[in-house]
Symmetry: C2
Subunit: 271 residues, 2 copies
């Protein structure tokens, strides 16, 4: 029996969805049908949301789950009449926080995913542009890089760099190890001055071959033999040069970023 | 007085940080010093985290705030001895969810930011590759696009496309309106078959000139006059062709994505 879940918010709904997904992940095997109701910031929109949740209840006969991050108590009350199971994410913590900090909450719309701090937002965008323009090993302004990811083609460097830039404003460059680099068996000359900012990504050859086969079917580049040879050489190079590395085969970009930040002691928090 | 906040998690800490940031945003004017303690998944690591929080308490004399998403009650108890103000994010909701769903939570480490669903993860990576290779208006495999963002250079198209791809697996192409397109005053021929997937981004000319000036100082491209002309023509084109659009000047990529999904009725939720 599929359970319907609504994420309701006066802003993007990203916070509601993030915590909602984490909680629902604790109930494996139950299929959830998830819906986001963002920008619910007027009584009119709250009434529309309430009606939509109520219709779902009536249609399925099963109580919908409502994960709610609206700041306004007035709007929360309107939606509470939907009949759904209301999980008010902030409610249990606001009292303790107010007492601890000695001030009342503002009650303003949750703008944590809006452009609150313009300088920080600009840093994210600039870092993203940096990652995009240092994604090929050709541009060499590595002195600007917070860190440099190295690895063979399709080991996960590009999405990881983009994620770290978009969410943390970390300027991450990307150096694809070429056959020439790998045959040499030494750190490429242009990377040597930045040794303390290098991080290696590696991957199981079987998985790499699958990914490359999708991209260039039937190519030598995608053969298991070629992948084995490249990965083996890359891993030997990283070990020999003492470069920290991570196997990305079963690891998401969120986990890759977190592990890299741990390695370098980067305590950058989400913008 | 700066308040120290720890986000503690048995996984990446992204959920703890996301909800923590949203709650702290309700207390404007208080400076917070934020620290993430990820991958706390053994009693040993929990004891280290407890000691670190306790040292912060002793050093500052002010109780740290601890936003906690660890699933294991055993680990939560260890950290509770830190003396910090414990905000256990999931605790208030797990009982109601268990009763509603009729099953007990698994209590397993929160893997909601890990590679739980491989097919979904692959869709994110494939969409990111699509966005990267359709970022210039030259590639023309628009039949594959879920949507196409159009706008003048530096109106916010690229980071928005990357964000939608990385987090929602939405394949978004990016069409930069050229002078030639704008002089013509009509929808470029190659976009016409995809009219129902087009979304326009626009921006205040003053802000656009600032962004362009950073990129190409002193160029004609960055003059206010040029920006005014391009933006004016682009907005007229979008209006004339009935293309939905959004002014991105004060809007974050998270908000842009959410508004675009609303416009197209895309109910895609976060992976």
């Amino acid at each position: 029996m599929e359970r319907v879940v609504f994420f309701i918010s006066d802003s993007t709904g990203i916070t509601a969805e993030t915590i909602g997904n984490s909680m629902l992940a604790q109930f494996e095997g139950i299929p959830f049908s998830k819906h986001r109701l963002p920008f619910v910031d007027t009584p009119q929109k709250a009434a529309e949301a309430r009606d939509r949740i109520r219709r779902s209840f009536e249609a399925t006969g099963v109580r919908p789950i409502v994960v709610n991050t609206m700041a306004s108590l007035e709007l929360c009350e309107i939606v509470a009449y939907s009949g759904g199971l209301m999980l008010d994410v902030f409610a249990p913590f606001m009292g303790p926080l107010e007492r601890e900090l000695g001030v009342a909450r503002t009650g303003l719309v949750n703008r944590s995913h809006g452009m609150v701090d313009f300088a920080k937002y600009e840093a994210r965008i600039n870092a993203t542009n940096y990652a995009l323009s240092h994604d090929d090993g050709i541009s060499i302004e590595y002195q600007m890089a917070d860190l440099i990811l190295m690895g063979v083609s399709r080991s996960g460097k590009t999405p990881s760099c983009l994620y770290m830039a978009l969410h943390y404003g970390v300027s991450a460059a990307n150096y694809p190890l070429t056959d020439e680099d790998l045959e040499g068996g030494e750190l490429p000359a242009r990377l040597r001055p930045y040794r303390d900012r290098l991080f290696g990504l590696t991957i199981d050859p079987q998985r790499l071959a699958q990914i490359r086969e999708q991209r260039r079917p039937g190519s030598r580049y995608a053969t298991l033999e070629q992948c084995r040879q490249e990965v083996g050489r890359a891993e030997r190079l990283m070990r020999a040069e003492g470069i920290p590395s991570l196997n990305t085969t079963h690891v998401s970009i969120e986990e890759i970023a977190t592990k890299i930040f741990e390695t370098f002691g980067i305590e950058r928090t989400l913008f």
